[in-house]
Amino acid sequence: MDQITFIFDIMVPAFANGLLITLALVAVTAPIGFLLGVGVACGRVYGGKGLSWLMQLYTIFFRGCPLLLLLFILYFGLPSLGIVLTPFVASVLGFIFCNSAYNSEYVRGSILSVKEGQLIAAKALGMTKNQAILNIVLPQALRRSIPGVSNEFIYLIKYSSLAYMITVIELTGASKLIATKYFAYNETFIAVAIVYLALVTITTFGANALEKKYAIPG
């Protein structure tokens, strides 16, 4: 088989399927991971002692536990407790836990960077604490967290490759299968590397544009 048929008849269709799964993993994880991260951050900053401690435990565990191990726990471990997840659901759950734990740290940092006086002023104007957080603090804090959160989004694209280890045939999985089947390791892995680099580079430009668009003037 010559190189051209290998690339166009075998590599391209397999990579296209893999890329779709990778993008699906990222698209499902990113919004949930972000919202959960904001929730965890708010719980840590504004919650009572118990809640704040619980949220801290959450971040320590999910940041310290290697993602691959977390996926093993969800996919191989949970069935022993009677919970059976499909590989895709298990990977998305694992990514959400990991992503939200890291995002919560960025958001927490940016919440703390908004001056406390603003919260007091909002309350003095008759807002409830929830209103003040929602309308005054978060709109500023979330803008400041864009660089960190978008960085984490880029990490998410990269670590979505770990889903292959629990049998989700995404981009990395598709390339590994082809490489092994046709014994073309260098060609296939270099090709998949180019796809990842393109994804990450495009996302970086997008993130920079987003950061500029939502920058607080002054």
Binding site: L69, N186, L197, T201
Partner: protein, 223 residues
Amino acid sequence: MALSILIDWFPYLFSGIVLTLGLVASALIIGAGVGLPLALGQVYGSLPVRSAIATFVWFFRGLPVLVLLFLFYFGIFPALGLDLPAFYVGAVVLGLWGAAYQSQVFRGAIQSISEGQMIAARSLGMSRFQAIKSIILPQAMRIALPGWSNQYPEILTESSVCYAIGVAELLTRSSQIVSQTYVTMPIYLACAVIFILLSYAGTSCIHMVEKKIAIPGFGPGGS
């Protein structure tokens, strides 16, 4: 019952911990050893050197560690005729991956030293190399240390990906114990706790070093 299995298998698990720490230590050493010259090249090098280094950094930061491991273990090293054991491949890949990140930490630190110091050193008759070695780096390294130490927990968690190429590190050992004993959750959770403790212990050690070598009145944000 789960506890007795953990105790029985602890020596086996412990050899995994040793291998994990070996991976992390060699990756950190390679990372610093390669990352620092890269940073110097990026600050003081000529345009071709700078763009070559920028490409290296872009490549290693843009790819998942899993893809890098596959690429080097199955592709590049065998194509070069190197038949390296998985542990060495893991250490080299993690090291180069870390070097790409660490070079940015070092570069930021070097650039934070005001340019006047270099000019002053040159006007005192020092060569460029002497000035970098005796004036710039001693300050830059101290500034870089907090950022550099963030690499430790990151490389520790990434080292578990070496499972994919069969390095017998902590996660691999834990999975093997799981498939031998059919006890899943306790083993995996123990593995997670060990990882978190290793991360915490290592970070505390680095913080101690940081305090020890700090110069009073000099540090990130100070000077």
